[in-house]
Amino acid sequence: MNTDLLNRPQTVQEREIVELYERLRALLRDDLPPCAAANLRTALTAVAIVVTDLGLRFEHLLDEGV
């Protein structure tokens, strides 16, 4: 899905942000040491705020501990 919530094409920067977001979500599905899991959740939190602010994604992440 290379569009934002308004169905407009994402910019190159926006695409990279969404890829980062998806990558972090995928990483957190793995069995990680506590230091990695906790800090990656913090990282995902920050990127989730960015994708929401920019209208790229809007979803809640409680199931991922975020």
Partner: protein, 448 residues
Amino acid sequence: MTPQPFWNPKTELLPRDELRALQLAKLRRLAEWAQARSPHYRRTFAAAGFSADQLRTWADIERIPFLTREEWMASQEAHPPYGELPVTGPENAIRVHTTSGTSGRTPLRALDSRKDWSWAAEMWCYALWAAGVRSHDVGYVAFGYGSFIGFWGLHNGLEKIGALTVPGGAQGTPQRVKQIIDFGATVVASTPTYALRLAQEAESMGIDLRGSAVHTVILSGEPAGSIPETKALIEERWGAKAYDTAGMTEVSTIFMFEPAEQPGGCHIIEDHFIEQVIDPETGCELGYGERGERVCTSFGRSTTPLLRYRTADMVVKVPASRASSGRTWDLYEGGILGRVDDMKLVRGTNVYPGAIEAIVRGYGGIEEFQVRIERRGERDEILLVLETAPTMGDDAWAALARTIGVELADAHEGLRFLLERAAAGELPRFELKAKRLTDLRPVNGVAR
């Protein structure tokens, strides 16, 4: 780097029709989330014959039932400690906060996840950035840092922007004044009442805040931040610009902020909230320029979704064009104007605390005030107790009392206020929400 006046230019400048489309897309997801996971919403949606899949056009928002504070509190009491609104238990949350409890009611308790809590700070970033706060600033947070949500989000927002953040908790007013000076604070956050209290204390310590590094005062927690007379007094005493904001524990953060050009109102953060204004009697939505009750839908808090929450705040919405910054977000003219239930009837005349404050703050030399409504014999009386600067002589006091009395009567259909002078330091001071009006009249023959 190009100077950037907007925290989020993509949505702050979004054309209105696209903003509506974005809100509707988010609303659908929020309603689905609430319906699937919150026992309260599942029940109330079903009772109203509403389902999230009915949200096809903007008008469909009216199908969503209102949520009231009373419902939330009842749910909290029936299913302590958090009630059935949350979609999760505390195991998925990292914070719990409460309302201030200044109304005397049981405080409301609210949970936040990691993302919810970061989002709360994000909303403050919109406000701080719009007021010109940047990473080179030193922010002083004059706040007690308890379980009341207060300025916690602002604290985190300052850090997110990269400003040096000074937590001013657990100390008295003189110590806070000293820290503001010692740390070279450029931005101070407090309630309007406490901003004035800090200025009074500085004066008694022989410190002129107008000569300090403070250039910005961020106000929240009371409607007074948008009362022009109160704001002017704060700006005069601090030698700084004061910006109003408003939030509530129910959403965990602020939903509006006053931009740098100070257009006489506050922008609603419309990419994260849907704000409606309704007639409190009929529940029907009102148009621009009509005074009514604020109804809030918040997209940011995953743990406790908030859909069509009746806030009891009185507001007047005006179009974005009222401001000149280019933001497309509508404004609340004059900020929060009061509460639906704070109007008092005294001998047939409507009395609003905010209107009294606007008059009192228009006069110099008044340190603090209280309003008391009493029954004396068969007659209701309204007393305004004023604490003046200690240097004010008896003649000056008599002249001041006469002038204020006339202005109050003119503004209240001739209602005569009784004016009394309090001794220096006699009236209560407030760090959080000030309570300046007390209605001592008996209810159904019983004294309160």
